[in-house]
Symmetry: C2
Subunit: 215 residues, 2 copies
């Protein structure tokens, strides 16, 4: 069974998945890197940066679910690049020459372009599609494996609203951003469809998992 | 040192401290009692309802900080009663003949009236005052003890914005209300002034404590 999973999606205590004022230099706006420091501090995060060490506790255990079993990713245009990247024909994404996806990645955008093959197994495809259509395409590419829904917050909301998400792992970081893009808008009653579990970590973050009934 | 403390204040995962559509029968609107079931299930909560039993874990430990060391409470008009109570000269609050406060309680309202003495040591006083003025009055009545800030969300926000809150205990309940009154609005950067700690409970809620630097 090929599931749709949201792993390691960080929000502030007041529910913002990205800050205000996103730019090329500050892809999370005024949030900077504060939503993701917990991840960089894990052993998994250190390895991604080519460094030894890092924590081996609950944060690390969660981060390690990012890749195994994933056959494709769907991401929003805002995760692929800063506002305006569509006007730059040479833009190859905000994730470097060897992006941390290693599968086909479907970028949702109204400005489609030719696919881009990167190092390490990532190929970016650009599609202008509804959540259900995008999932059908990504699932085919995933070849029986799960599909990762990579965010941002707007994309996650749209897929949840369409009833397409099987599992979400949301990480609540103890900062108050005050402004940005909210994750939770329009999710009233989500607890009726998902089993919700919260696990606080010594690092200060709380891991909140949502598992759809029957999955 | 007399502190200002917010104990046991429950919000939904999406940050609402009360639901939409508050009435006399549904003081928390469409949230019903869902924000407070965790509290009713503790041994402390059972005792308040005159019942034996109840959980003795982390939820119970937190609830028990509601009363000790408190000399007065400040509450908003919306905690004292449903919208429109001001037009009912006989209204004596939403908390029964023996309210669970047992100290002077200062109700913030633009419609002041004479004080009301209840059973069990609670006396309601009605004041039309700024947060700082209300605190000065309550602190005098507390006679060296701490002042409890009882909510609702708007009152807590106003006192935090005025820099008057020393300790907050916020309980995040794993439900998505979608609408109501938000707690977190306008609290950007609060982590700079408070040490924040999160503790998840087997009941599903997460206790988030804020302790002001130097307190």
């Amino acid at each position: 069974m090929s599931l749709v999973r949201v792993p390691n999606f960080s929000i502030s205590l007041d529910g913002f998945g990205t800050g205000d004022g996103q730019t090329r230099d500050e892809p999370f706006g005024h949030a900077g890197e504060r939503l993701h420091e917990w991840m960089f501090d894990t052993r998994w995060g250190h390895a991604m940066q080519g460094r030894p060490g890092g924590s081996r506790g609950v944060d690390d255990a969660f981060t390690r679910q990012h890749d195994p079993g994933i056959g494709a990713e769907i991401m929003g245009a805002g995760k692929f690049g800063h506002p305006g990247w569509e006007d730059d024909p040479d833009w190859k994404g905000a994730w470097g020459p060897n992006p941390p996806f290693h599968t086909p990645v479907f970028v949702l955008t109204h400005h489609t372009r030719s696919s881009i093959e990167m190092e390490g197994g990532t190929t970016y495809h650009f599609i202008d599609a509804s959540p259900a259509e995008a999932l059908e395409t990504a699932r085919e590419a995933a070849n029986g494996k799960d599909v990762r829904l990579g965010g941002g917050p707007t994309v996650i909301r749209d897929f949840v609203a369409a009833g397409l998400v099987d599992h979400m792992h949301i990480v609540v970081v103890p900062i108050l951003l005050g402004r940005g893009v909210r994750l939770w808008d329009g999710m009233e009653g989500l607890e009726n469809d998902y089993a919700i579990e919260a696990t606080s970590s010594p690092s200060g973050v709380t891991h909140v998992t949502f598992t759809r009934g029957g999955v």
